[in-house]
């Protein structure tokens, strides 16, 4: 390679020579003397291409991108933990400002007030949206936030049996099961049934004095909405905690917050606001709880304080819970979280405000109600839900998964089949989860309806 052709590397051959002279080395290889010679490669790694210019790289990436069906190019109805909402242009502009994009975790608060103040605002917005006292500065995503909440409940209650609602996202269940194998937590879980009612009653019956927590998704994986106040009350009577999981935060612009119903810890996936679909990541985990549990909360926290002149400022705080201080005694091993996605979330929320959030939520809900009406009028289609927000479950009179695949070939992305989510559960194979957000047009719904009619005929 002609060394001066690599556009991201500013050193010239002359620079390198003069720097080696300062160091007192003959060649750059002299700097790698600690690496045993047999482990040092003499040339570039075999089997990989050589460097390429912007145009060539762009062409390669665009060719890959073109092989995918982009959601915006066709009628699109997928949800089940990731939702397609319109992200205002100003949000993406803000997160691309280099001062946010290329900053590090705010370890030097005097020159990181931009990041810190937005995190403080983010924490406040999340706490208020969830109806709890405090929130942290974000987690990796909803599924990992959910597991961290279960371990937090274990630390608080000193018990290790968690009751998981059958309405919890199956990936979240899967993550918790994976982790519990190693931590020896006991998880009680059954797959959902195609029923308009949630398993709230079963959970109520199962709470006992060994229970550390009850984990309930709201709205749940099938789109159902259930009041969790009775669960909160019984949990409290047994000194167990109620954990609510919200995978669609826009819903909380329309329905009561889990905190208002007595949830002790509320976690969620914040992807809906500002972040976009991105094939599943990066997303942003939301984590809030009652004030009394704050010292058991995982993850980074931003707090208000003053500087030496008495001016208000913000810092990372309560780091005595964290791995870089506590090492093996830390509340969690998390270091990096999801700062830039948290910025996207908070910027979008600020642009909406309460008025905009409520409007957005209403628009989502009413469009979904309308679509549910149209789709459930099709012969061979039943609507499972009594209540829902922007997502509901249809029960078809055939297996849903092959239909979803066939419709994708017709350039209609129809929803998430329960067969994909619960491959083991034959009783669920006819279920199809359909999400309808503000990005779905009447024509999209009609296209789906006509295609479904065709597939079921």
């Amino acid at each position: 390679m002609k060394e001066d052709k690599m556009r991201y590397l500013p050193l010239t051959p002359e620079d390198r020579q003069s720097m080696l002279a300062t160091i007192g080395a003959q060649t750059v290889d002299d700097l790698f003397v600690d690496v045993p010679e047999e482990a040092r490669l003499t040339g570039p790694v075999q089997g990989l291409p050589m460097h390429a210019g912007e145009m060539a790289v762009e062409a390669h990436m665009k060719a890959l991108a073109k092989k995918n069906h982009a959601a915006g190019d066709m009628p699109f109805f997928l949800g089940a933990g990731a939702y397609r909402h319109h992200v205002p242009a100003s949000v993406d502009h803000i997160i691309q400002r280099g001062e946010f994009l290329t900053a590090y975790t705010p370890y030097q608060p005097e020159i990181a007030q931009g990041t810190l103040q937005t995190l403080f605002e983010f924490q406040t917005q999340v706490a208020r949206l969830f109806g709890v006292d405090v929130a942290n500065a974000s987690m990796y995503d909803g599924s990992t936030a959910c597991w961290e909440a279960i371990t937090m409940a274990r630390r608080i209650t000193k018990r290790s049996k968690a009751l998981l609602s059958s309405g919890l996202h199956p990936h979240y269940v899967s993550v918790a099961k994976t982790m519990a194998k190693f931590t020896k937590d006991t998880l009680v879980y059954d797959a959902p049934q195609l029923d308009a009612a949630t398993d709230g009653q079963r959970l109520l019956d199962q709470i006992d004095s060994d229970t550390s927590c009850i984990v309930v998704q709201y709205p749940d994986i099938l789109g159902r909405i259930d009041n969790m106040a009775a669960l909160a009350e019984k949990a409290k009577a047994h000194k167990a905690l109620l954990i609510a999981v919200v995978t669609e935060p826009v819903a909380l612009g329309a329905i009561m917050s889990p905190g208002e119903m007595g949830a002790d810890i509320v976690v969620g996936e914040g992807q809906s606001l500002g972040v976009g679909l991105q094939f599943g990541g990066p997303y942003v985990g939301l984590f809030g709880c009652k004030e009394k549990y704050v010292r058991q909360m995982p993850g980074r926290l931003c707090g208000e304080t003053v500087d030496a002149e008495g001016k208000r400022g913000f810092v990372l705080t309560l780091s005595t819970r964290e791995q870089h201080i506590r090492r093996e005694k830390a509340t969690s091993n998390i270091c990096t979280n999801s700062g830039l996605c948290a910025l996207a979330f908070t910027a979008h929320m600020t642009l909406l405000g309460e008025k905009g959030l409520r409007q957005l939520a209403t628009l989502n809900h009413k469009k979904a109600v309308q679509a549910a009406g149209r789709l459930s009028a099709i012969s061979g289609v039943k609507l499972l839900n009594d209540s829902f927000f922007n997502e509901f479950t249809l029960v078809l009179d055939k297996d849903a998964r092959p239909i979803v695949r066939a419709l994708a070939d017709q350039r209609i992305l129809a929803g998430v089949s329960l067969g994909r989510l619960y491959p083991e559960e034959e009783s669920l194979a006819h279920g199809l989860i359909v999400a309808v957000t503000e990005t779905v047009s009447d024509e999209d719904v009609e296209a789906l309806a006509v295609a479904l009619e065709g597939a079921l005929a």
Partner: protein
């Protein structure tokens, strides 16, 4: 040239005396471009919004009687106000785009903007993780292609792509080790970690249920091989070693360490946080490593974003490959790409320890990292590590006459230079030097880490700095170091020119204020 000045003075007044900065106050408290920005809760209002949405169709709602009636309490701003709010806040941040960011062990290199452009292609940014696989073949192919790069660059046969960040990758590696040991009916209890390790290592091992024991370092800042060998035994599941280590040094005995651990029935985890020093130059697979995470947000230039999102794929040896977590992208015989999830795991990956995240990992980071790799190529990546190591050694040798370099005598460093606060006077320490660097216009180096060196200062310039930029940085560092050695009182109250003076962290921790609350007089007035 005759210019119309319309009364506007075109020439500086002569003999002006400039007052000292402290003597000037402003009505607002602001200083030109340095402007304080209130919280959205102080300026916004719940009925203001920067979005306009179409009217909702008129249909009955079906919310099950759970309508949210009480105020939520999230204020809004108009678009102009919102853009200004965040723009003003952004200007209170230091960032790579603003200047050299020598934060040791964090690899703050330039983030190419082509990466951002590629990540925003609708075929990557606007696809849902649960779309039918035939509709996302390009995305699966991209993950597969990136996986191939990572395997070739590390010389390891398998990789798990889903971990969300470095610490999550560590957890992935340790869980694979535990699964492998349990599968052979040989559950063990102890993980050995060098005392210089990053705090996430012991935290991760503990999270996975292991007891953590320290391995001492020798006087050269490397793992004490004999002490390690003496501790190995049937209760030791493995070691977690950072290589290059947190002192910025390569562990020359790495292969011997791996061999000893393997001979005692254990497995080797390598923390790949410092992979930037050896990428394209050394393959960890050649050193006997069984698992290593790779921070795409360090070595492969995906932006740090003020604290994430990161991405921490984990490469595995043959011994651990069968235990890798789901999902896994595989290329089928017909050339199509398939996502192995729980459903098909039974036949293909029956030993997988399970799922670590919903969906498939940090796709947005994968697109950026692959863009970066394609730009550099195998030749460019080799140049990356060579230039990163060259820049660090240049700093080491440009400053080791004024600052103590604890391991400087034992030879060259890798990608970061380590100094101590030895010789500072008047009670000044590393923190004061760091704050002095802020006034010079730099983000400070990593402070007080690694813990094995008193008042440690870990300087990592990365390969994307020019010689001129490094010379300027060295000049500033030298000047502040001289002041620290001379006991300059003014350093104790630095920074003087940042948006904030030193912040009271004790008060923040004693009475945590983590959310905004309406001031009391405000609440009273509303009554």
């Amino acid at each position: 040239m005759n210019m119309l000045s319309e009364g506007r003075p075109t020439k500086q007044e002569e003999n002006l005396t400039m007052p000292t900065q402290d003597a000037i106050t402003t009505h607002t408290g602001n200083r030109a471009l340095m402007v304080d920005e209130p919280l959205i809760f102080e300026t916004g209002s719940p009925d203001r919004s920067g979005v306009d949405l179409p009217d909702a169709p008129e249909v009955e709602s079906r919310l099950g009687g759970l309508d949210r009636k009480a105020p939520i309490g999230v204020p809004g701003l108009s678009e102009a106000e919102m853009v200004r709010h965040y723009t003003r806040l952004s200007r209170q941040n230091y960032a790579i785009d603003v200047g050299l960011f020598p934060l040791g062990s964090c690899t703050m290199k330039h983030n190419p903007r082509l990466n951002e452009k590629m990540a925003r292609l609708k075929g990557f940014a606007d696809i849902h993780p649960m779309q039918p696989m035939e509709s996302v073949q390009g995305a699966l192919e991209l993950i597969h292609e990136l996986a191939e790069w990572l395997k070739l660059l590390t010389g390891m046969p398998a990789v798990a792509m889903s971990p969300k960040a470095g610490a999550h990758g560590e957890l992935c590696g340790i869980l694979a080790i535990r699964s492998a040991l349990e599968a052979r009916g040989d559950a063990r209890e102890v993980i050995l970690v060098p005392e210089s390790a990053h705090g996430t290592n012991p935290a991760t091992a503990a999270f996975a249920g292991y007891k953590v024991e320290d391995i001492p370092a020798n006087s050269n800042g490397r793992v004490d091989l004999e002490a390690l060998k003496a501790r190995l035994g049937p209760d030791v599941a493995g070691v977690m070693i950072t290589n290059p280590n947190t002192c910025g040094l390569f562990e020359p005995d790495m292969k011997a360490i791996s061999d000893a651990v393997h001979a005692a029935g254990g497995l080797v985890y390598c923390d790949g946080a410092n992979f930037n020093a050896i990428v394209g130059k050394v393959r960890p697979g050649d050193l006997g490593v069984d698992a290593m995470h790779i921070n795409l947000h360090k070595t492969f230039s995906t932006p740090h974003g003020g604290g994430g999102p990161g991405s921490g794929p984990v490469v595995f040896s043959e011994a651990l490959a069968p235990f890798a977590p789901l999902p896994i992208v595989e290329k089928m015989d017909n050339g199509h790409f398939h996502l192995i999830e729980e459903e098909t795991a039974e036949e293909h990956h029956s030993s997988s320890f399970g799922r670590m995240v919903a969906f498939h990992g940090q796709m947005g980071m994968f697109t950026r990292a692959l863009t970066y790799m394609l730009s550099h190529g195998a030749d460019g990546l080799k140049q990356v590590s060579e230039d990163a190591v060259l820049n660090a050694n240049y700093i080491l040798r440009s400053l080791d006459d004024i600052l103590e370099a604890p391991f400087g005598k034992s030879g060259p460093c890798m990608h970061e230079a380590l100094f101590s606060d030895k010789g500072f006077t008047n009670g000044l320490g590393t923190l004061d030097l760091a704050k002095g660097m802020i006034d010079e216009g730099y983000h400070p180096m990593t402070m007080y880490f690694p813990l094995v060196v008193h008042g440690a200062m870990l300087v990592e310039p990365t390969e994307t700095e020019s010689k001129a930029a490094i010379d300027q940085f060295v000049g500033a560092f030298r000047s502040v170091a001289e002041r620290a050695k001379a006991g300059d009182e003014l350093l104790k109250s630095a920074p003087h020119f940042a948006p904030r003076h030193r912040l009271d962290e004790t008060q923040a921790a004693r009475k945590p204020a983590l959310v905004w609350t309406e001031p009391e007089d405000f609440a009273e007035a509303a009554e």
